[in-house]
């Protein structure tokens, strides 16, 4: 075990993956000698050479197109998009190409080796284009996996799981926690499973569900709720697609209440998918409407970021309203 922040854990995961398999390559904008604008790929070029860790020209559709080709050839590309806000130029390559590569070829070809890493989320005064949470755009795309870790231990284990998963994976890293979140991380090679939610805390009165940086916010809200004797079951979804409905269903069958929270805007956000599914599967057990605590249906604002974000107080209020319904 070593004390690491999330960036160190991600860097350690990439190092581990590259050491274990020479087919693993890391590339993107400023990823090479400089080690990335957040330093996630620090020292990898020095250790594994310029052919395996390198800068690309500044072109997101090119980075992912290139990565698709490399993955089809049998390499294991880990491509970095500098901010999730800038993944949209590559949307066509991801949605029309990566996601459909295996299906459309009848499994003659696939890009299963592909992993795309991108820092996401707000809380860092990033304004419109350094704050977005685009997971719901991709959740509407069969063929992709979408994963979001909440702390350094999760980040390393899930990233290694993503790199070795035989399907293309989008790995969104909560950049607000890059240095803020620290914890014990095994130095050994370990993987955490994709497609499985994790019950972080058991409770009886209400289920509170989120992912990524929002888990820390949920913890603070739950502390407030527990002071008022509300027993909360806290679940980290971890994988957005394909998501672990069963764990959430089982929890809501027990608690009868659900709050889902994410930073992204409400309309079309992934909480909508979760709410619809739980409503369908737990209808007779629900004691109150499913609450969604999310960002507003606006572009991500700069000055009024605090007002925009679904913070612990908004979640706490939603928990209370749900209990009192």
């Amino acid at each position: 075990m070593a004390k690491m922040n999330m960036l160190q854990a991600i860097n350690n995961a990439l190092d581990t993956a590259m050491a274990a398999d020479e087919r693993v390559l890391c590339f993107g904008e400023d990823v090479g000698g400089f080690g990335g604008v957040f330093r996630a790929t620090s020292h990898l070029q020095q250790k594994y050479g310029k052919t395996r860790c390198f800068n690309t020209p500044l072109v997101e559709q090119g980075i992912i197109g290139f990565a698709n080709g490399l993955a089809a050839q049998g390499s294991i590309p880990v491509a970095e998009i500098q901010f999730a806000d800038y993944i949209f130029p590559a949307f066509d390559q991801i949605v029309n190409e990566s996601a459909k590569f295996r299906y459309r070829s009848g499994n003659l070809f696939n890009v299963g080796g592909l992993t795309i890493r991108a820092p996401y989320g707000g809380g860092i005064s990033g304004g419109h284009y350094h704050s977005q949470s685009p997971e719901a755009y991709f959740a509407h795309t069969p063929g992709l996996k979408v994963v979001v870790p909440r702390n350094p231990h999760q980040a390393k284990g899930l990233l290694l799981g993503a790199i070795r998963d035989p399907n293309p994976v989008l790995f969104f890293e909560p950049k607000r926690l890059y240095r803020a979140s620290t914890g014990d991380v095994p130095e050994s090679d370990y993987e955490l499973p994709l497609g499985e939610a994790e019950i972080i805390k058991e409770g009886d009165d209400i289920t509170v569900l989120g992912w990524g940086a929002q888990m820390e916010v949920i913890e603070r809200a739950v502390e407030l709720a527990e002071k008022e004797s509300i027993s909360c079951e806290v679940i980290d979804l971890r994988t957005i697609l394909p998501w672990d409905a069963q764990t959430v269903i089982d929890s809501v069958l027990k608690t009868g209440r659900l709050v889902v929270t994410h930073e992204a805007p409400l309309t079309g956000g992934f909480a909508g998918e979760i709410a619809a599914t739980i409503q369908d599967r737990c209808f007779l057990y629900l004691e109150s409407p499913i609450a969604r605590v999310t960002g507003l249906d606006t572009p991500f604002p700069l000055t009024l970021e605090k007002e925009y974000l679904p913070d612990h107080l908004k979640i706490f209020e939603a928990i209370k309203a749900n209990i009192e319904f």
Binding site: V59, G62, G65, N68, S75, Q93, R102, G106, G112
Partner: protein, 394 residues
Amino acid sequence: MTTTRSEVVYTPTFTDGDEFRLPTFKLLQQDGTLYDGAETPDLDRDKALRIYRAMVFTRVLDERMLAAQRQGRLSFYMQCTGEEAAVIGSTAALDDADMIMAQYREQGALAYRGFTTDEFMNQLFGNEQDYGKGRQMPIHYGSAKLHYMTISSPLATQIPQATGYAYGQKLAGKGHCTITYFGEGAASEGDFHAALNMAAVHKVPVIFFCRNNGYAISTPAIEQFAADGVAPRAFGYKMQVIRVDGNDILAVHEATKAARRMAVEDNCPVLIEAMTYRLAAHSSSDDPSGYRSKKEEEAWREKDPILRMQRWLLDRQWWNEDDEKALQESLRREVLETMKRAEKRPPPALETLVSDVYDEVTPALAEQFEHLKMHIRKYPEAYPKSAGQAKGGA
């Protein structure tokens, strides 16, 4: 690094690059003889005949299958007509294990590599023997064993993929390269720019082969770009480039052979622009009479690349009228008979609807599939292709 090799001037000096005129490489005249000064290319009889058969096969297949589409037997079709030399001449200059990442009008490349008539037909009819399991539209072929990447409809997406694929080949060190085909219309997509720039920066063994056939559906090349074709763009990327007569099988073959040598031996990407003409409609859903003249088409029909090669073969006495007649007849018969067999094959199994989305069927998708089967069992007459398969327990 911002102004390397730049001279200094003291008056504002602009250029549109027009002084860099690219020549067109030609060897074979339409009458089947070489141009004065053209050297006889290094192409032996066996290979020349392999190329020629693939060209004739492609023409016969295209004519028959367009007719089949008109009869309603096929949902869609796209012909290679007029561009057989560009496609097959370049593929023939490669190693058969080099990767091909094509757009959609390159069935000739597959024909050259030995894709069987059955394999073509199974894809066109989307039957149970189609490698793609009937999931994609006709002409979206793929073959792992022939190193032909499955076609997808979004234009130009395969171009940066070819750069990535070839980068992997370079690391693997087995001396292979990738060729990627695209039309002059697709070259307007952002993916074209991304691919060429990345290939040049990273010194990737990839050949970018542009079929400049004058039209992107109804849009003439003059409305596609203001420059002298696609080739001059290579200068901006510091990439080797050649323009070739795309209806000249010998020139295309020679140019691609040299390009491959540069790609594999020097890790040097190359752009080839083959000037040709799309003799057929864009697709079975298009009618070119709405945007171009019969006279223009006729002028290009006289430059038919297959006829040109046939005359060269006749001139060399590698081929004669009887050979031609026998080949035409046997191909027509084979295409027709194979089509009839392929049409009768059953559709893909119902379960192929949900397999291969991921490496394994997810629980949520398995559940959706069980619901679908129950539904089909309830209304079997509405789903004739799968009613028989939906029987049995959930």
